[in-house]
Amino acid sequence: MKIRLDQVVKTFDTFRAVHGVSLDIESGQLVALLGPSGSGKTTILRMVAGLEYADGGHIYFGDQDATDIPVRDRGVGFVFQHYALFPHMTVAENIAFGMKVSKTKRSKSEIATRVEELLRLVKLEGLGDRFPGQISGGQRQRVALARALAVDPKVLLLDEPFGALDANVRRDLRRWLREIHDELGITTLFVTHDQEEALDLADRVVILDQGRIVQEGTPAEVCRAPNSAFVMRFLGDANRISANVRDGRAYIGETVIDAPSSSDGPIDIYLRPGDVDWRPEGDGISATIVRVLDRPGGRRVLANVEGGTALEFDVPPETDVRSGQHGRLLIKRSRLYPA
């Protein structure tokens, strides 16, 4: 089912949470709404679900205007951040709930078969008789997903689905959700504030800030070509260096970078930690190492460059770097945004 948002607006009391957001989600896609807290991402998701009503604009499911269809009849599966499993029902009863209350009547054996099928799908065979309080967080999340899928929703919506889980469980569940999505092909929209999660999981990432879409595209598009300093900073660690542009060239002290499309004046240069090479001497910006942080995959160096700007960069694990060391930084890649 294709979802289309057309100039959707939502205001709480006096606070405008969502400003005229338009968005097309193709049928069968897995799309992430990514943004910091307060960016309106959950509000958008809840409006698509029908748990909130839009104050303006329209939401279409396929060709149907779903803006004012109540959540009960909208045919969406919603997975809550804290799962919202019914604590007094067993896992199987939780999964069966949607089928039991549905307007389409199903026989008891039909429901039982479907519950078994879903338990298999979410790899929880044999746990149907447990209560939510008796299973782990990751298992609860999978029950919540099975429960949402039980009613054959047209659209699957997940609100920070892995937010409350620890890192390893998160990574496993992420891969697993992708597999389920590929298997079922159901249009899926999920909300997260975790860039890694969005980039890992989604076909398309929609980046939001202060109730507006700032960029959308495939993970490759948003990673390789962030269209603003905000997106650059939000997607991962980024260093900012102030520079001056004269005649298509940006000057950082003595170092010069090509800036063909920038007009003269101050500019901000953004660098990822992997965008610079460290060398003890030679060309480049002179820098002094302040601290070295050891990480499993390499070493993160905190340094001060000339002019006093703090900078972080990564070097391979075998590199010999010590605090107090002087050296040069060669910029391999950079992105320029107006200051």
């Binding site: 748990l51 804290h82 919202a84 499993l85 019914f86 949607g98 209350v101 307007k103 309080g133 429960r147």
Partner: protein
């Protein structure tokens, strides 16, 4: 030789302080709470079981018991429905005047019951607001069962709502939203999801409400008119017997209320073990625990 180390007392844990505190509590507990209960039992059965049975069997006493039970049978269900509706409205909806409603529900707690009784007198009495209208329609509210029920309901209006609101606030709206998104109707959501999660707190509120309805004296004494064998509830009847110098009768009737109180306490403790009657902070902690175990 190593000297045995004397542990210094923890805060407030000195042996003298400890003994004095425990002793004082036990002493006051005994004379304030236990002694009266024992006196009731002793006095009620002081003239033998026969006299006790005779007092209970007296038509006026039986009628008083009937009045009390009838009042409870009406007031408790109505207040339960009111409490559920109020708690649901306050915790699951956003509307203008929500906070004001919370305060209004609490008013009966802070008002002396006798004030409520007098107020009813002015609303429904002959010289009152609706008095002439009611008289014209030949509806008798004051000095009859309706007045007693109304006064009792006023006094106990907050009991159920107060137990439910903190719990339902702590539980949030997620479960109801989940049920609705799965296609459940409002009623279905209420009966299959909300009610099972608040049932112990609800029962707790009902038990407290019932105990108070049956024991209410002040408000009821104003509106009932104290007509022996007609509008006397059990507490009023006890006072009447006492003023008639029928000490044994008064104590016998009182023993019924005392028994009711004991049953209430047992039910209360049993329900508290199931997690009912927690104050907001505890309910929130329980929710945390739930989030750890069930969400």
């Amino acid at each position: 030789m190593t000297p045995t180390r004397r542990k210094p007392p923890r805060v407030g844990d000195g042996p003298i302080i400890r003994r004095v505190l425990i002793g004082t509590t036990l002493f006051f507990g005994a004379i304030l709470v236990l002694a009266p209960l024992i006196v009731i039992a002793v006095e009620a059965f002081g003239q033998g079981l026969k006299a006790y049975a005779a007092t209970i069997a007296h038509p006026d006493t039986r009628h008083a018991i009937f009045m009390t039970v009838a009042t409870a049978l009406i007031a408790v269900p109505v207040n339960t429905a009111f409490g559920l509706a109020a708690a649901w409205a306050i915790t699951k909806f956003d509307f203008w005047g929500r906070r004001a409603l919370l305060v209004v529900i609490e008013i009966p707690f802070s008002i002396s019951p006798i004030v409520a009784g007098v107020a009813y007198l002015f609303v429904y009495g002959l010289q009152g607001l609706f008095g002439p209208m009611l008289e014209a329609a030949d509806i008798k509210i004051l000095f009859a069962l309706p007045g007693i029920v109304l006064a009792s309901m006023f006094v106990t209006a907050p009991f159920v709502a107060r137990e439910l609101i903190p719990l339902m606030q702590a539980q949030g709206r997620d479960l109801e939203e989940a049920a609705t998104s799965l296609g459940a109707s409002g009623w279905r959501t209420f009966f299959s999801v909300t009610l099972p999660n608040v049932k112990w707190a609800l029962l707790y509120g009902v038990v407290l409400c019932n105990a108070r309805v049956m024991g209410e004296f002040g408000a009821v004494s104003v509106v009932s008119g104290n007509i022996r064998g007609q509008t006397n509830t059990l507490p009023l009847h006890i006072e009447l017997l006492y003023h008639d110098y029928q000490a044994a009768g008064a104590f016998a009737a009182a023993s019924i209320l005392a028994t009711l109180a004991v049953v209430t306490i047992i039910a209360k403790v049993a329900l508290e073990r199931r997690g009912a009657g927690r104050r907001p902070a505890l309910a929130a902690a329980a929710k945390e625990q739930n989030a750890g175990t069930s969400s």
